[in-house]
């Protein structure tokens, strides 16, 4: 295994590299200017996506890192360059935010359009000290209740836990389930998505490696 001779390429060489915790000291390394702002706050259809990360005692986790990855407003994964060096105009679909000392994170983004047959959602990745291997989850939007009925991932989640994947509308904007006008339905809204790593109302985490 650690033989210094160069091994011949073989199938068994390509085994997954194991995960390790992000640890406590990423704050000066991974967050970056503009990381939480996928669009400028004054953008017409900007939404706030925010929440608090809690541990199994219900205490806020002050050293977590959250990443989001999503389609644009039309449901397209644009894959533009520029996530690390934002130009204030180009939407890339990727964002990164560390939580503050109260365990709270905030992104400014847009509500994604639906991709394929699924209801609109944002993929969320959670890293933290004490977390050996990151966790994936999804944020769905409360005004899309009808689309949730046919979403295959939500269907795989036990009904009594499904609510942990649906953000709570907590600001001005659409979010009352009545918005059909696209601009109105995506504009100026705020959504709260708390993440409970353990315990009562534990967030549903997803394993895509099934």
């Amino acid at each position: 295994m650690s033989d210094s001779a160069t091994p011949a390429p073989s199938r068994r060489s390509y085994v997954q590299t194991p995960s390790q915790t992000v640890g406590p000291f990423f704050e000066y390394a991974l967050p970056y200017d503009g990381g939480p702002n996928l669009v400028p706050g004054h953008y017409t259809n900007a939404i706030r996506l925010h929440g608090t990360v809690y541990d199994g005692d219900g205490a806020p986790v002050p050293d977590a890192l959250i990443e989001i990855w999503q389609a644009d407003e039309t449901g397209t994964l644009v894959r533009n360059l520029g996530s690390l060096d934002r130009d204030g105009y180009t939407f890339t679909g990727f964002g990164r935010a560390s939580v503050n000392l109260a365990g709270h994170y905030t992104f400014t983004t847009v509500k994604p359009g639906a991709v394929g047959d699924s209801a609109p959602y944002i993929l969320v990745t959670i890293f933290a000290r004490g977390l050996m291997h990151h966790l994936f989850t999804r944020v769905y939007f409360p005004e899309d209740a009808d689309a949730h009925l046919s979403d295959t991932v939500l269907a795989a989640v036990p009904a009594d836990r499904r609510g942990t994947l649906i953000a709570v509308a907590d600001g001005t904007g659409p979010a009352d389930g009545t918005g059909t006008d696209r601009a109105n339905a995506a504009g100026a809204g705020s959504y709260r998505f708390d993440i409970r790593l353990q315990g009562d109302n534990e967030t549903v985490f997803l394993d895509f490696d099934a």
Partner: protein, 259 residues
């Protein structure tokens, strides 16, 4: 919970119990665990931070099967040299860490982002909550970034990080390591991990390293000293390849496992 920190002997006994359980499962024909269990009490911070429900297994959809794109508009090539970020030379042993990022088929992961961060030669991070009374180095921040090349290759020039103490238990020390953050071609391949150095005497004592309970899996985190990567009168070279398998990868008995 009491305020008394566990002893190394207590933590080591817990580590051994977890290792024995993995060995028992593997001896019974179970697949070796590729990742640490999130529920690994010897690392005390994990106790309240792991989910207790099974993860819900679902098929990745287009969002999960794609990954953000990064490129040279995002990362300056100079960011891969951690020794030139200040006006003077950092203290410590200069090293080169180089390798390739590959997928589960051995294909290169091209033009993707790698981020690293690490302690300085004295084992101190540039982080306000790092209280280890080792000196900061005004010429070393310990943060680097790179975009992989056409063959998935990367190369960082940095300083050998020092081991450092932490308060998981009494006299707890982390083996020297460099943190790595990686993106694959699918978001499901996202990985944050740590690279270690060969022969570290702290390996057996460290609950974070030992959280990977299969010895063969642990070895995948150790860079290999490669004399050909060392530069005469300049730096020592370590080689470390990273494999990001995609979704739907399944463990298979190696065809030559009987050798």
């Amino acid at each position: 919970m009491t305020d008394r920190l566990p002893t190394q002997a207590e933590i080591s006994a817990e580590i051994e119990a977890h290792a024995a359980e993995t060995k028992r499962l593997m001896d019974a024909g179970g697949a070796p665990p590729l990742h640490p269990s999130r529920d690994y009490a010897p690392y005390r911070s994990s106790i309240l931070r792991h989910p207790t429900h099974e993860l819900v297994r679902v098929d990745p959809e287009e969002v999960e099967r794609e990954s953000p794109a990064f490129g040279h508009t995002d990362v300056n090539p100079l960011e891969s040299d951690l020794t030139i970020q200040h006006s003077g030379e950092p203290l410590g042993e200069r090293i080169t860490v180089s390798g390739r990022v590959l997928d589960g088929e051995g294909r290169p992961v091209r033009h993707q982002l790698i981020e690293i961060w690490q302690a300085n030669a004295g084992g101190r991070y540039v982080h306000k909550r790092d209280q280890h009374p080792a000196p900061l180095d005004p010429n070393f921040t310990g943060v680097g970034r790179a975009i992989t090349g056409d063959n998935g290759e990367y190369l960082f020039t940095t300083i050998q990080p020092g081991p450092y103490p932490w308060r998981n238990h009494t006299n707890a020390w982390r083996p020297a390591h460099i943190h790595f953050s990686l993106f694959g071609s699918a978001f499901t391949q996202r990985l944050v991990t740590q690279m270690y150095f060969p022969g570290d005497p702290l390996f057996a004592l460290d609950p974070i390293y030992q959280s990977i309970t299969d010895p063969a899996a642990r070895e995948r985190l150790i860079g290999r000293y490669n004399h050909d990567l060392s530069s005469p009168e300049f730096s020592l070279g370590y080689e470390w390849d990273i494999v990001l398998t995609g979704p739907k990868s399944t463990w298979m008995e190696s065809e030559d496992a009987d050798e």
